[in-house]
């Protein structure tokens, strides 16, 4: 939900750039000796569409914020779940270390046994 609103604001930024681009194209075309009328019309329509879109989008965002904003800071946190998860991962790591030690102990014992058998033969 938050991502959609932020994405809409990013699209609005691109729309603002498009507004300036259209304005620049219009002025550039007017500076020519023989301006192309249809090109000017197209650019003007696009300019007006973009300006309306920017205004509507920003107005709706401000209206939404007027409805949901309180004066208070948000005090939610994920600390407890994060701590529990971290402890679970620590438990798993500890079990891995202990199993590793057990495995190494067994290997050492087996090697010693094999060496003794070889010495006897």
């Amino acid at each position: 939900m938050a991502n959609e609103r932020l994405k809409a604001l990013e699209d609005t930024e691109k729309e603002i750039a498009s507004v300036l681009q259209c304005a620049g194209n219009i002025v550039l075309e007017l500076s020519k000796d023989k301006p192309n009328g249809s090109f000017l019309d197209r650019q003007l329509v696009q300019f007006q569409t973009s300006v309306n879109r920017v205004e509507n989008e920003l107005t709706s965002q401000i209206r939404y914020l007027t409805q949901v904003a309180t004066g208070q800071p948000h005090e939610g946190s994920t600390y407890s779940a994060r701590k529990d998860c971290q402890m679970a991962l620590n438990r798993a790591e500890y079990a891995k270390v202990k199993l590793g030690e057990l495995g190494r102990t067994c290997e050492v014992m087996l090697e010693q046994q094999q060496q003794q058998q070889q010495q006897q033969t």
Partner: protein
């Protein structure tokens, strides 16, 4: 949703300020572009000489173009401020993000503990045999 909410003065003022900035910047862009297009029209009769008029029009267009760019940048700044305000004060989406993160962390923790428990059960069987072997050997 048309419920009347009492916002703190600072938040109310801030949002009104955002509205004002939006309207001013849009108005500035539209007015300045309109004036540039009007100025682009060549007049047959001018009060001053053509060269002076041309120079004046040139300067005016420069200033108005700069105004359009300034208004565009001001709109960009407004969008940036809105994004910041949204991240800090949009409680429904902050709550949703926190709940989602908590769910993911809890499910990871449960999966981890489940696997550890099944590992414990498997190793308990092998450990029984190892203990039998160890305590009946000469190394105990």
């Amino acid at each position: 949703m048309t419920t009347q909410r009492v916002l703190p003065q600072s938040k109310e003022t801030l949002l009104q300020n955002y509205n004002k900035r939006l309207k001013d910047d849009i108005k500035s862009i539209l007015d300045n572009l309109t004036e540039i297009v009007k100025t682009a029209k060549i007049e047959d009769e001018t009060q001053v000489s053509r060269a002076t008029q041309a120079e004046q029009d040139h300067y005016e267009m420069h200033v108005r173009a700069a105004n359009i760019v300034r208004a565009g940048e001001s709109l960009m700044k407004l969008v940036s401020d809105l994004k910041q305000f949204l991240i800090l004060n949009d409680f429904p989406s902050v709550n949703e993000a926190i709940n989602l993160q908590n769910q993911q962390l809890r499910s990871l923790q449960e999966e981890c503990d489940k696997k550890l428990t099944s590992l414990r059960d498997e190793i308990a069987v092998d450990l029984y045999e190892l203990e039998e072997e160890y305590y009946s050997s000469r190394y105990k």
